[in-house]
């Protein structure tokens, strides 16, 4: 085996072997391994196939910078797609499969595609597949594309926690710099949180022999002890995935494999960024072969997992960090050959297995090639936060420049690749200082892709973007970095360019002969690493997604056998009883017409407006004149938008000179309240008006029907119920069981009707009293479905159903205030715009069907001409049990002037006839209403 486990001290627990499989073959690893380290320990190097050419691939890096080893992992019967093997912790019983390869990564039947690579260059699909059209080719291409496959079933219990969190100092990165900064700050009394994305702290320290005179593990333990003793918190296996507005940092805390990460919405006063740096690839022929790996990645495999990635290793590096790596690898038993990359063009030899490396005429037999093209600081979060970048010529890298508010960068991300420098600037930052760019012992010779050089040289491994593709993009003038990225798909793979972006930029710079910093960078977009969608979802699911509002009388409704359903955000009785819904609803209608319906109207908005300016205010808020309303009286009216559109309808009651109660639709309470507050505070004297939403304080029970007066009388309240003493559209205040009660004589059914409002606590007693009194007279509870029919029979509208976003009050037959109201009101001027004056406005009408015909379909359109043109639509339509015929309401062009006209009603191509009539089909004279 080329790659193998050594006896070096590492972070795995050799006493805990774990069994797992890859592409159907069984292997063993240890607790603390990743999938990739365990496979490497078993000598497996081919762990995936590339996206386009299906080239065999092994891991490049040892952590989140690997674009190659992508697997679908099945555990306990559920598959998790697109797991990076390099950062997936090994778990007993895991079954991993390479994505995008069949039957296995080692033998993939689609590998033949690579033979056609010369025709599959960057953007080839933009140049073909146009004849006869794209639909002929697309299905095949879709099947070829994509990485992992998902389980179609739902994983029960896969649910994320979501927490809000705060700290004084957030340290991102638990390597040397992060630990030092966190300790310094914690010891200075700051509330510190340190996050580290590996499960084990220490970053690159595990590669070292000693740190400040201690073994790395001991040094790390000392820091952890100091941080936690001073009250600091440490979150491992936690990725800071994004920095958002006002310094909010998104943290994804990973639990065991197969569970959803916990989302921390972390708000920190200050942030120390200690995210480190990544080794970048070198662009040479065959640099994508399994066995070509990152130098730093190889050192990590050794230090963390005890895995030596090869036996005969060519170490190709342009920088001074290679010296330590060479020692580390050699001490572990590898033969290391240093190859200066500038000595000539190189080529990796071999296919699935590296056989050697050629440089010029020389050929070296090796089994592994480690490359290091220099360090690239992980500045992603810095850029999310709005920090600037500066090009550092010495380090050949973009380093943090002008800082975003409250953030400093320390350690390798800040270009401090020397441990002592890194520690000292981290400690300074922990104490609140901002480090300058420090001197460095790090030395490198610039090494970038060489356009025109021979061989297939990979820039983006997963997406199969080669140097030739970059040259093609330049030739075709896709030279802006964003065009380059989008045209070639460079940097858009699941590692989001962590391995490819710098090489891509450098290649474009070289092709154009421009300095690299002039080419610029693409945007660093969150998340830093892919995160499961569930993390954003958490408990916002099922019945907790916009939770329903519940009625005080829900137990009574349930006891009465109500069919509860959602209506306007409330859980309300649709109807009562078991059996066929339509029949039950019709029976309720007949009950309401024959005796009385008892209805829970509690969700209706109850908003009080009080104060010396209340009269002027409501007169301005309402379309209708309210000024003339007398205490104890009630008026029906509309609220409009400033655009003149009907916002809500309802009744307004004047309790006394300075006190009004606005009753609005149940689903509009919040918007009406906000509407009132906005006008109260902006444009009025808020000291003279008070708006109080009491919707949740009052419960309302409505008795509607010819027997309503008798039922109410049975409650023996201290109120004269005679039509003369208590006429329609008036209000009486009294007491029910010694608590205040309001009785409004208003009607939404067209029958004699009383709305009884009491405090919620008294609602059950009131309900039971009314139901009991009603039962003796043949009345019964009715649900909202029956109410919808009752009001439609009477021609009463529901705003939002029988109106649309163009409806003005004069479209509904309420044109008088528009012409006559003397004082200003919201929307007034809009009621006289060109459109408002048009003669073809859609107005409310009733629609009658020929005798014996079924009801019209709600949503059907009224049409004329050939081809048919819409002139309106049916907004409400029911079989009326009262009238024993269908009734319907609609909005139709100039409808009010066309009463009696026969119109065509169009639904899905079928045409029926209807006659336009007045909206009110029940008791048009209003005798029952005023009874």
């Amino acid at each position: 085996m080329t790659s193998h486990r050594t006896t070096r001290v590492a972070l795995i627990d050799r006493s805990k072997p774990l069994r797992f499989s890859f592409d159907g073959k069984e292997y063993q690893g240890y607790e603390g391994d990743t999938l990739a380290s365990a496979l490497l320990a078993n000598g497996v190097r081919v762990m995936g196939r590339s996206f386009k050419y299906h080239r065999p691939r092994g891991p490049w890096g040892a952590w989140v910078d690997d674009p190659n080893a992508i697997m679908t992992v099945t555990l306990n019967g559920h598959s998790f797609p697109n797991c990076p093997a390099t950062s997936t912790p090994l778990v007993e019983g895991m079954q991993a499969r390479s994505v995008n390869a069949w039957p296995s990564a080692a033998f993939d039947i689609k590998s033949g595609l690579d033979l056609f690579h010369r025709w599959l260059s960057a953007g080839f699909y933009y140049k073909t597949f146009m004849w006869p059209n794209w639909h002929l080719f697309e299905p095949i291409i879709r099947k070829m594309a994509g990485l992992g496959d998902i389980s179609r079933d739902v994983l029960e219990g896969y649910s994320a926690d979501q927490v809000f969190d705060h700290c004084e100092l957030l340290v991102i990165g638990g390597g040397a710099a992060g630990l030092a900064a966190a300790r310094a700050a914690a010891e200075a009394g700051k509330g510190v949180v340190l996050v580290e994305d590996h499960p084990v702290l220490g970053g690159g320290l595990h590669q070292m022999a000693e740190v400040e005179g201690l073994a790395p593990a001991d040094w790390i333990a000392e820091q952890v002890n100091a941080i936690t003793s001073a009250g600091g918190r440490i979150l491992t296996a936690t990725t800071a995935f994004g920095v958002y507005d006002h310094g909010l940092v998104g943290l994804a805390e990973n639990g065991p494999f197969g569970t959803a990460p916990r989302l921390h919405r972390m708000r920190a006063d200050r942030i120390v960024l200690a995210t480190g740096a990544l080794d970048r690839p070198i662009t040479f022929a065959g640099n994508d072969r399994p066995g070509v790996m990152a130098m730093d990645g190889a050192c990590e495999y050794l230090a963390r997992y005890g895995v030596l990635v090869g036996r005969k290793i060519a170490l190709v590096s342009n920088n001074s960090l290679a010296d330590a790596a060479e020692v580390l690898l050699a001490e572990a038993g590898a033969q290391v050959l240093r190859l200066p990359p500038h000595d000539g063009p190189m080529q990796a030899l071999g296919g699935k297995r590296i056989k050697g490396i050629a440089q010029g005429a020389k050929r070296h037999d090796v089994d592994t090639i480690l490359a290091s093209g220099g360090m690239t600081p992980l500045v992603h979060l810095w850029r999310h936060a709005g920090g600037k970048l500066n090009w550092c010529e010495t380090r050949q890298a973009f380093l943090p420049g002008a800082a975003p508010d409250g953030m400093v960068a320390v350690g390798a991300v800040n270009g401090a690749f020397d441990l002592d420098v890194s520690l000292s600037e981290a400690r300074a930052a922990g104490n609140g200082k901002s480090p300058d760019l420090s001197p460095t012992s790090y030395a490198l010779t610039p090494l970038w892709p060489d356009p025109g050089s021979k061989g297939r040289q990979w820039i983006d491994f997963q997406h199969d973007v080669t140097l030739k593709d970059v040259e093609l993009a330049a030739r075709e003038n896709y030279v802006s970095v964003e065009h380059l990225k989008r045209y070639t798909t460079l940097g858009m793979a699941s590692d989001q360019g962590k391995t490819s972006n710098m090489a891509g930029l450098a290649a474009m710079a070289a092709v154009q002969g421009r300095p690299l910093p002039e080419v610029g960078t693409t945007t660093f977009r969150p998340p830093f690493v892919p995160v499961p969608l569930e993390m954003y979802h958490g408990h916002h699911g099922k019945q907790l997604w916009h939770p329903l509002k519940r009625l005080a009388l829900e137990p009574q409704h349930r006891a009465a056998g109500a069919a509860l359903g959602e209506y306007g955000g409330w859980l309300r009785p649709g109807w009562y009883g078991k059996g066929e819904a339509k029949q039950l609803i019709h029976q309720e209608v007949l009950t309401a017409r024959g005796s009385a319906g008892i209805f829970d109207a509690s969700p209706l908005g109850t908003i009080e407006v009080m104060g010396p300016d209340a009269e002027t205010f409501v007169n301005f808020i309402y379309y209708n004149t309210i000024r003339t309303l007398k205490p104890g009286h009630i008026r029906y009216g509309f609220m409009l938008t400033e655009g003149g559109i009907v916002l809500d309808d309802g009744v307004i009651t004047r309790l006394d000179q300075n006190r009004f109660v606005i009753s609005c639709s149940s689903s509009h309470v919040d918007s009406v309240r906000t509407h009132l507050e906005a006008w109260r505070q902006d444009g009025n004297n808020p000291d003279r008006i008070f708006v109080h939403d009491q919707t949740q304080h009052w419960a309302t029970v409505t008795i509607a029907g010819p027997k309503a007066r008798e039922i109410l009388a049975a409650l023996a309240l201290d109120v004269d119920l005679s039509a003369k003493a208590f006429p329609h559209m008036t209000l009486q205040e009294t007491h029910f069981e010694e608590t205040p009660m309001r009785i409004a004589r208003v009607s939404f059914t067209g029958d004699l009707s009383y709305e009884l409002s009491v405090r919620c606590a008294k609602a059950p007693a009131l309900w039971e009293a009314v139901v009991k009194a009603g039962q003796a007279l043949g009345a019964a509870p009715i649900g909202i479905e029956a109410l919808s029919i009752l009001r439609a029979e009477k021609g009463y509208i529901m705003v939002g159903k029988d109106t649309d976003g163009e409806t003005m009050p004069h479209d509904l037959g309420f044109g008088v205030p528009r012409l006559n109201k003397s004082s200003a009101f919201i929307g007034d001027r809009s009621l006289h715009c060109d459109k408002a004056n048009a003669t073809n406005r859609k107005t409310l009408v009733g629609l009658a069907v020929p005798t014996g015909a079924p009801p019209l379909t709600t949503g059907a359109h009224l049409v004329d001409g050939t081809p048919p043109r819409s002139q309106g639509y049916v907004t409400s339509s029911y079989e009326s049990p009262t009238l024993d015929r269908p009734v319907a309401l609609g909005l139709v062009e100039n409808g009010a002037a066309r009463i009696g006209e026969t119109v065509s009603v169009w639904h899905l191509g079928d045409i029926r006839e209807a006659t336009i009539c007045a909206p009110c089909a029940f008791d048009p004279e209003g005798e029952r209403l005023h009874a």
Partner: protein, 416 residues
């Protein structure tokens, strides 16, 4: 210009693709043009293309402050549809769909318009009634539409949530079979290449800093690359329309908001249509590459910052998991945002700006991508003739004075 074809691709493959020319030139600006278009996004480039192709006007420049296609054209969720309620909207957006249907061949550039259909679900009886109203309106507008029941929706998108504990159970939906998705960058690049081939100058990294006014008329622009005079100037700068308007001294009924978009890691095919679930405010499709492309509502804060914010991300992505619970463990790859122009009726503004010689194409809100061909086609007509096309006339900015708004949201409940 080498024609794109399977044959030429085969031939070029044999010689390392050395024969492909530039997709577009990078010319230095001339001192004057017959027409100058500000903004090399989809709408600006399409306008230039149709000016040259339909009106023979080739002495045209498109000025772009950054890189072409870099605004909302390159940031949207690529949905193309014409499922509109009002005849005015249907005429506009269906013109666009019809132009899209032939666009790849017209431009000789594969824009990958994939007519995989779009379903808008309905979640209650009243929503089903609205769906019927919508389907009937679409059909009467001459646009394809089908009213689906629950089982039909399930067949089209089996991943949708049909579990009994679903908060908003699916009752059915509206399908537009001809709707679908396109490759957004390719639309910009295809128009750029085709316009360039007809002689149009596309000038990138050229920021318009002010207008050149003479006797109250706009006669050109001051730019970061010098002054450019123009017979007529058209602005197609979605997201920054108000900024340009301020230079010319007029106000627009527009507020800028960030609109976010999201893409997951690539998956093998799991979703064959575009699906929008209004209660969750989320819609999703799967790209040819395999990523789930996810969108939702606007961020609620007026903004010119081209980045998204966490609360809306949580709403949209949590909505997706509610819609399709099997996607819970799928990983989000990246998210981004564009700045969109939002008008009071969420319909675009096309036509005269109020300043002589300066015309507007703006206010597309969240739906500009699908309208690119029509927006360009109509704007070219206006710039070339100085008067409205019948289809663009209702979208003149004068509607805000007359009150003839075209508010789709109000009529149909379908979000733009």
């Amino acid at each position: 210009m080498t024609r794109y074809s399977a044959f030429n691709l085969l031939r070029e493959g044999l010689r390392d693709h050395t024969g492909w020319g530039k997709a577009w030139r990078s010319p230095a600006p001339k001192s004057s043009y017959d027409a100058v278009i500000i903004g090399a996004g989809g709408h600006g480039l399409a306008t230039a293309y149709y000016l040259a192709k339909n009106h023979g006007l080739t002495n045209v420049a498109v000025l772009e402050k950054g890189w072409l296609g870099g605004g909302n054209t390159g940031r949207n969720t690529t949905v193309i549809r014409s499922n509109y309620f009002y005849p005015e909207s249907a005429a506009l957006y269906d013109l666009s769909v019809r132009l899209y249907e032939n666009l790849s061949r017209d431009l000789n550039y594969n824009v990958m318009f994939s007519q995989r259909g779009m379903v808008v679900t309905a979640h209650s009886d009243p929503e089903m009634e609205m769906a019927a109203r919508q389907v009937n309106a679409m059909r009467l507008n001459g646009v394809d539409a089908e009213l689906l029941d629950r089982d039909q929706v399930r067949k089209l998108a089996p991943l949708l949530n049909f579990r009994p504990d679903m908060r908003a159970p699916i009752h059915g939906g509206v399908l537009q079979p001809r709707a679908g998705t396109g490759r957004h960058d390719a639309v910009a690049w295809g128009y750029a290449r085709a316009a360039d081939a007809l002689g149009v100058d596309i000038i990138q990294n050229c920021e318009v800093q002010d207008f050149i006014m003479e006797a109250g008329r706009c006669v050109g622009v001051h730019t970061s690359q010098g002054d450019i005079r123009a017979g007529v100037v058209g602005a197609a700068v979605a997201g920054h329309s108000s900024v340009i308007a301020k230079m010319a001294g007029y106000d627009l009924p527009i507020t800028s908001y960030a609109l976010q978009a999201f893409v997951s890691e690539p998956l093998k095919p799991v979703l064959d249509t575009v699906v929008l679930c209004p209660p969750f405010g989320t819609y999703v499709s799967q790209s040819d590459k395999g990523g789930l492309v996810i969108g939702g509502g606007l961020d609620r804060i007026p903004s010119y910052g081209q980045r998204g914010n966490l609360p809306v991300q949580e709403t949209v992505l949590a909505g997706l998991v509610e819609m399709m619970p099997a996607l819970a463990s799928v990983k989000l790859l990246r998210h981004w945002a564009g700045i969109v122009d939002v008008t009071p009726d969420s319909s675009p503004i096309i036509g005269p700006s109020g300043v002589d010689g300066l015309y507007l194409n703006c206010g597309w809100g969240t739906g500009g991508f699908k309208a690119i061909p029509a927006g360009g086609y109509l704007f070219a007509h206006i710039l070339a003739t100085g008067s409205h096309h019948e289809i663009s006339r209702p979208f003149d900015r004068s509607r805000f004075v007359t009150g003839h708004l075209i508010d789709e949201g109000a009529a149909s409940g379908i979000a733009h």
